[in-house]
């Protein structure tokens, strides 16, 4: 059930209506039932994997807590405390590791097994060896990358003592399966989500209208902007060899807008739908294309994924025994600052390799991830050099021209990354880059880009509107608050314009072409 379908509109209306009828104490049970209905309506088979992950992490969390409570460390004499802590920690670590391995194992088997096997056999082939084990023929359960990360985050948080293990299995199952976020995130933290997920919230008129506005914006972003640009992108991208430099560059920008409007639009629908019921999900975007640097971009783009990798991969790697040991070793050879940079570089490459891989089992994604890794490493390595340059030439960093140029630079770098992200194969990605750089490529081509002039103009107008909305978002101003202060005529005019913009200009429905009347023209 995708969000932009009539089915979902019916579903969310039913869920919300019944939510507020249910006794407050049991409203979370209704959400659990709704979430499983939502998830299983995609395919009943997928449910097995979801339940499995839920059971494994639920049990592991309880076991970790049981270990913690098995010895009361505070009662021990001081000299035994440290030793006891170490023993407990080791046991907890083992349970956590097992839970992580099991969950990642499932994800790996379903998502990466074929990819790995294919690559190994390709390598074996070059050495004249034959290695061709059977490939798995299973569809990937929807949302598995998201919920696997969410449950692993939960287990690690329990291990670290950030939150207690949830004792009620069904409450925990709701945390894993909560329908607004199961398909595409945001990847929730138990310590945050549990604050609002289980308490029954009273109906709040103000909140309700704000939530609906947010959903409407989401539908606008997805149906009117993303899906319109997608037609052009899907036309030009696979057939890039028939297009000139101008069209390819234009499509690159189109894709950047498309993927943002698509993903952020989905988030606005998810967060809006959840907000109706008073449940707060984490924000996943904050006007990312207004970032002045790549690290900043990644603090504003897919925020919950970035923070997941920071808290559960980057920090642990940086603080792991072997990493600090390596740092110490290097310190003697290359100095303190350089050694810390060296370990950072290793950890970053690791993080970005996996960030790329998380997006899909394809070298294009890995390349895309590593591209960001390299950009971030370069920016940390050259930051001091750049800072002294700026200081020497007394460039004012708050100058709007300087800022705009930084934003433009970041956007261009992000667009280059998307060449890998959107391409089906690495050779296609390099083909596109080659076509842009090649001197003999014509500037434009007569081939159509899949959408006509009227659609391009419409897209331009709507993207402008999105940019204005994002300026408000960048400054943390809630447009809804501003609209709420206006008089009812203006307010409703805005609502109806947005509503009918989606209904009229959205890309949905069976489609219509006036040429389908073949023989009788009246």
């Amino acid at each position: 059930m995708i969000f932009t379908s009539v089915k979902f509109l019916v579903f969310i209306t039913a869920v919300v209506s019944i939510y507020f009828i249910f006794p407050k104490k049991y409203r979370w049970i209704w959400l659990l039932a709704s979430s499983y209905f939502f998830y299983l309506s995609a395919s009943v088979k997928y449910g097995i994997f979801l339940v499995f992950s839920t059971v494994v992490t639920y049990t592991a969390a309880l076991l970790i807590e049981k270990v913690s409570e098995s010895i009361d460390v505070s009662l021990l004499p001081k000299e035994q405390k440290k030793q006891a802590r170490q023993i407990l920690d080791k046991r907890k670590k083992i349970i956590t590791a097992i839970a992580i391995v099991i969950n990642f194992g499932v994800l790996f088997a379903l998502k990466y097994y074929n990819f790995t096997v294919e690559n190994i056999s390709a390598i074996a082939d070059t050495f004249g060896l034959k290695f061709s084990p059977a490939l798995l023929n299973v569809l990937l359960p929807v949302g598995i990358s998201f919920y696997t990360f969410q449950v692993i985050g939960y287990i690690i948080d329990v291990y670290r003592g950030i939150n207690k293990a949830e004792r009620n299995f069904f409450k925990y199952a709701l945390f894993v399966s909560y329908f607004p976020q199961i398909m595409q995130g945001p990847i929730g933290r138990f310590s945050e989500l549990s604050k609002t997920l289980y308490t029954g919230h009273a109906f709040d008129y103000e909140r309700f209208t704000f939530a609906l506005q947010r959903m409407l914006l989401g539908f606008f972003e997805k149906l009117v902007i993303a899906d319109r640009l997608a037609i052009a992108v899907d036309t030009v991208w696979p057939d890039y060899q028939s297009y000139g430099k101008f069209e390819i560059l234009l499509i690159g920008v189109f894709y950047a807008i498309q993927i943002y409007a698509d993903f952020a639009g989905y988030m606005d629908i998810a967060l809006g739908a959840s907000q109706i019921m008073g449940i707060r999900l984490s924000e996943n975007f904050k006007a990312p294309y207004f970032s002045a640097s790549i690290p900043e971009f990644w603090r504003r783009w897919h925020i919950t994924l970035g923070s997941w990798f920071r808290d559960y991969l980057f920090y642990p790697v940086m603080r792991s025994g072997w990493c600090t040991a390596l740092g110490k070793k290097l310190k003697g050879i290359i100095g303190k600052k350089a050694s810390s940079k060296a370990t950072t570089v290793i950890a970053l490459l690791c993080v970005w390799f996996f960030t790329g891989m998380w997006h899909g089992a394809n070298w294009t994604y890995i390349m895309w991830g590593v591209y960001y890794g390299v950009l971030i490493i370069l920016s940390t390595l050259f930051a001091p050099l750049f800072d002294s340059f700026v200081q020497k030439h007394s460039i004012n960093r708050d100058n709007p021209v300087y800022k705009s140029l930084q934003i433009l630079k970041t956007f261009i770098l992000v667009c280059i990354g998307y060449i890998f992200f959107r391409s089906d194969t690495l050779s296609q990605a390099f083909g596109i880059i080659g076509r842009i750089l090649n001197f003999s490529t014509p500037l434009t081509s007569p081939a159509g880009i899949g959408i006509d002039r009227a659609d391009i103009i419409a897209a331009a107008v709507f993207v402008l509107l999105l940019i204005i909305i994002d300026i408000f978002r960048a400054y943390d101003i809630d447009i809804r608050e501003i609209i709420a202060k206006k008089n009812i005529v203006l307010r409703w005019a805005i609502y109806f314009i947005m509503l009918f913009a989606v209904i009229i200009f959205g890309i949905y429905g069976p489609g219509y072409t006036s040429s389908s009347f073949i023989y009788f023209q009246f």
């Binding site: 219509y512 006036s514 389908s516």
Partner: protein
């Protein structure tokens, strides 16, 4: 409490405005094929039409109700739609009976050569979209389409919203026409005459076509409406001659008249080299021959009142004058 009532009123008002805007947008955006000849039907005063022509574009092009009024005083309307098959005609008739109580229905049976409920999605839209919103329309949608495509007939904006880029003045102007459902054309495509087959040369009727043909006839019997089965001249396709021939059996069973002008076009002096607009449809010349023959047949076989001297039908005379000023054939 007060604030709750206020909010309730606001919510209702919001919904109301939405419905109004939504219907407006739906109308403006929808494809208006044939709207100009179908929608004026709804402007006819209630229970004033004596004869209804129900069927496909074959009827639209071959029967001119204004001529029937001028010559015989018959008050009639061609309530038809392009490529409309018999299942669709059943609902078209039901829809018409919500507004009119005719003495007689002339039913176009040319579509017995198809075994499906609709011809194409586009033509189904032409029929359904021109229907007023009513339980009959809902019933038709439920019966004619599978569950996956019903929604686009209830809310046809789903299909037509992308027409925003080709809107013209026509989409905003009120629709008028004085032809009473006829499509008047003076174009000409010379065609060859159909082969001649014997009366025994007939195929069996398709089950779907027969089922709905019977439903229409039963409905008319129940409503005490006379039925004349009719097939206008057109160039043969899909073995239409022997298929239409089979309608004779049904006509006999129900005790009805059946006129198939493909079977014996000479009785009206039909000339395929000059009387076709295109191979499927008559032009004005052909239509005049068909209309005259039908008028003669109706007045001599059925009790249809002459409305020319009826005071309450004086608006027909004004419409006839407008018609004569507009069309010249």
């Amino acid at each position: 409490m007060k604030i709750k009532i206020q909010r309730l009123i606001k919510a209702v008002a919001f919904m109301l405005i939405f419905v109004i805007l939504f219907s407006g947008a739906t109308y403006i955006l929808r494809n208006k094929n044939e709207a100009n000849i179908v929608l004026p039907f709804y402007d006819e005063p209630k229970n004033t039409l004596d004869v209804l022509f129900i069927g496909s574009s074959h009827l639209m092009c071959s029967v001119y109700p204004m001529e029937l009024y001028d010559r015989y005083g018959i008050a009639s309307y061609v309530f038809a739609s392009s490529a409309q098959l018999l299942p669709q005609s059943y609902y078209q008739l039901k829809e018409a009976l919500r507004f009119q109580s005719p003495e007689m229905v002339v039913l176009d049976v040319s579509s017995v050569i198809y075994d499906t409920k609709i011809s194409t999605t586009e033509y189904a839209h032409v029929q359904i979209d021109n229907m007023s919103f009513s339980p009959v329309k809902y019933e038709a949608i439920l019966d004619l389409f599978d569950s996956g495509s019903r929604l686009e007939y209830v809310f046809n904006i789903a299909r037509f919203h992308s027409r925003w880029k080709e809107l013209g003045l026509y989409d905003f102007k009120p629709i008028t026409s004085c032809t009473k459902g006829a499509y008047v054309s003076t174009d000409c495509t010379p065609c060859l005459p159909n082969r001649i087959i014997s009366a025994d040369d007939k195929y069996e009727l398709f089950p779907t076509a027969e089922k709905y043909l019977r439903k229409i006839l039963d409905l008319c019997r129940q409503e005490n409406i006379e039925v004349l089965l009719f097939n206008a001249p057109s160039v043969e396709e899909h073995d239409s001659l022997p298929r239409c021939n089979a309608v004779n059996d049904i006509a006999e069973e129900y005790g009805l008249n059946y006129i198939d002008l493909n079977f014996n076009p000479d009785i009206i002096g039909f000339d395929p080299s000059s009387d076709y607009r295109d191979p499927w449809h008559c032009n004005a010349k052909g239509a005049m021959k068909v209309t005259t023959y039908l008028g003669d047949f109706i007045v001599s076989n059925y009790q249809i009142p002459d409305r020319r001297s009826d005071q309450s039908y004086s608006f027909w005379n004004e419409q006839l004058e407008e018609y004569r000023n507009t069309y010249n054939y």
